[in-house]
Symmetry: C2
Subunit: 458 residues, 2 copies
């Protein structure tokens, strides 16, 4: 290594350009190391606002930034579009497949894996065909097509029963994603689509929010959950707690409650119920003998490293450690912790276990309404919404298009305008976090949400 007269620089490979990968790259971008970031997508995505893309408020470019643009001033960082397919922890290489040539081995001295989670259908991946999730830009655009397409279907429907099916949106899962989406679909129908249709009043749209639990946004605690329920009901969202989905098809969902089975006819179903760690979590666990939990997340040591491999960090949603929640803030702090640990080791400093500093959580429910929990403070309604606004502006800040988003929000909230209502009737679905066989089927059917043939009721 000294033969060239120069120390080879420490090589860091980062897998994933999300909240678990990007902060580490930004920090390491100012240090004397060589960084390679591998991601199968070209963009860093602000997932918490995907529902604004699905409901026509924001464009994809407003909630995502090209990863290489976010890192363009870090000249020691290379960004490569490639899907990671495996690891060889002994030889210290990552196996990556770029879309343009055969798989390659990427060697590392330190490795940070932050591959995130996908949607989980709890063993029923076939539901994905009828109930897309909301994890990627493709998911959000597919949902945009289905939501706005459903109103078109209702306008075209030839009898009242079919119209009602088109005008029913079922959202499975009453966590932040499900709650925020439910609220925005109602806002969309009641405010933005007013006078757009001749055969029906869009305010008649039925939004059913299903969850097996007792209350929506349960993680916020009883009091705030109760406030959230009240706000949702005021918005016209039908809350069905204690309901377990047993089947989904093109025409609705089957639900099991303590009172027995029920069928809800609906042409739009959204899955916001569960997550499953990236398969890379299991690969890492198998390679070093670590555990995985029910959601496939790998258990790390308190330093966020793998047992026997202090040079390998796993970060963010794909990790289970100290029961930390799967939120962006945990991933970001973990990412910086991993990068700092690498830097401290290189300069011979001591390292510390990861400690999460909880900054609180917030979820919005329609316009001007939210709930918010910061340490012991509990807020709801408009004050919580102001917190929501500032938190999201701070996040979007790194995308440098904050003002454009504020502009859109202003017109969507104070006015009624939603600019991103364009969908393609030929778009054939996207990355639905479903197995390839299911995705193939979605692609094969140009109008999965619109076809009126097959097993449906007359």
């Amino acid at each position: 290594m000294h033969a060239t007269g120069q120390m080879a620089r420490h090589r860091v490979v980062v897998v994933g350009g999300g909240f678990g990968g990007l902060p580490a790259c930004r920090l390491l971008g100012r240090k004397p190391v060589d960084v390679t970031l591998l991601d199968r997508r070209n963009h860093h995505l602000f997932q918490p606002l995907l529902y604004h893309v699905a409901t026509g408020i924001l464009s994809e470019g407003q909630i995502a930034v090209p990863i290489r643009q976010a890192l363009h001033r870090r000249e020691n960082v290379r960004v490569k579009l490639a899907e990671v397919t495996g690891f060889d922890l002994e030889r210290r290489v990552v196996i990556a497949k770029p879309p343009v040539h055969d798989a390659v081995e990427v060697p590392y001295d330190s490795l940070i894996v932050a591959a995130g989670v996908g949607q989980s259908y709890f063993g029923h991946d076939e539901f994905a065909l009828y109930a897309p999730g909301m994890k990627t830009i493709d998911d959000a655009l597919e949902l945009r097509r289905r939501i706005f397409g459903a109103f078109e279907g209702a306008e075209l429907a030839t009898d009242p029963d079919k119209r009602e099916q088109w005008l029913t949106v079922v959202i499975v899962g009453a966590g932040p994603t499900g709650v925020e989406l439910a609220g925005q679909v109602r806002e969309l129908a009641v405010r933005s689509l007013r006078r757009n249709f001749r055969a029906f009043d869009p305010a008649a749209v039925r939004v059913v929010l299903l969850d097996a639990g007792k209350e929506p946004l349960a993680a916020f605690g009883d009091r705030l959950s109760g406030r959230a329920s009240a706000m949702l009901e005021k918005l016209g969202v039908e809350l069905r707690m204690g309901s377990r989905v047993t089947n989904v098809d093109a025409f609705g969902v089957d639900v099991e409650t303590e009172n027995g089975q029920e069928r809800i006819a609906a042409r739009t179903v959204v899955w916001a119920a569960g997550v499953q760690a990236s398969p890379l979590a299991k690969m890492l666990a198998d390679a070093c003998g670590a555990d995985t939990d029910r959601s496939g997340r790998v258990a790390t040591l308190p330093y966020m490293t793998l047992p026997g491999h202090p040079e390998v960090f796993a970060v963010g949603d794909m990790v289970t450690l100290n029961n930390l929640p799967g939120v962006a803030e945990v991933a970001m702090q973990g990412s910086l912790h991993a990068a700092n640990t690498i830097v401290r080791r290189l300069s011979g400093e001591s390292t510390k276990p990861f400690r999460y500093r909880d900054l609180g959580t917030v979820a919005s429910i329609g316009r001007f309404r939210a709930i918010c929990s910061v340490r012991r403070l509990r807020l709801s309604g408009f004050p919580a919404w102001v917190v929501w606004l500032f938190v999201h502006l701070a996040f979007l800040n790194s995308f440098s298009n904050r003002l454009a988003a504020v502009w859109r929000w202003f017109w969507a909230m104070v006015g009624r305008t939603r600019h991103e209502r364009i969908f393609s009737v030929t778009h054939t679905g996207g990355d639905l976090s479903a197995p390839e066989s299911v995705r193939e089927k979605i692609r094969a059917s140009p109008f999965p949400a619109m076809q009126d043939t097959g097993a449906g009721p007359d």
Copy 2:
């Protein structure tokens, strides 16, 4: 008809919500008639700015508006998402297939058909697989994916020859679409992507603009064409006039010039060369014995009506009349003429043949540069660009998001920012104005522009 004690209202059916259909609906929306607008897409599209979507400046929602939103205050206008598949001029019905149920007959008293044009590959529809056109939102998003994807391919390329192929963009056709796109791809590379890549300088991107004619933007006349050539060359666009494309594949184009055959290796090819009228033009011509021209456009009478069917109007790009150019302004004036003729007939007034009032034309060439021809006035450079800006703002005005577009333009032109650079690696192509068999192939191949297997050079 008088049996009900009330006159049935005059029924107008409009086919197509573009520049030939929408103005008629807006005008008739204030008159005592019942209007039904049929379109297979949900949006009215400002096609002249599609290249801004393809090159990452604007989002789809900024150059398109939902048709029903544009007409929501016209309560006598119904908008239906349906593909028109035929006409029965004797029985006065349009046959339309909505995506959600079987085809229906839509009866009319007056009919306006404005179905526009698609891309023409001059009998080589197989080129569409490798050289998408730019007529629809899907086309623009597909091109965005290919253009930004090509830079990713260049970063990943393992040898200089392959990198050069990725860094070559061939644009076929030096009309306004081809010229504006060529200029913006160079601007994108030189300004917006600076410092984004480690393996090459994006300014090295080669943009080759091919045309069989003698000069770019030939319709503007010799002097302005010459100015356009000079501006394009200053921007670094390679102009290859007098070049006819004889073949396109995944790795480049074959070109025939007066000096013989040449091969240009390129991984991104865009087709902006020719148009073909909607098949509805031929259907109308066959139904009434009218002529069609080489591009399949139907010849109308001077009133924009069909021979023997004064109640049937054909309007816009799908029509050949008085050698009028295929521009938005002709379609808009024709649309208003048709609607006015219907109104005048109903009130017993006399009607007039269509007369086009030429307001001039303008084409931009990169930032701050354009050429412009208004009656006898010829402008080029910055003054022409100011005209371009005002004309496009006036058009976007109807979309009500003018200010947001100005904001984006400001940052794209004065700054370097392009927000809409997000593409999906799983997106499988769209409505490429190609026959279904070719589109199927595009869908089947998730990376048509990126795969490096098959017949390509090593």
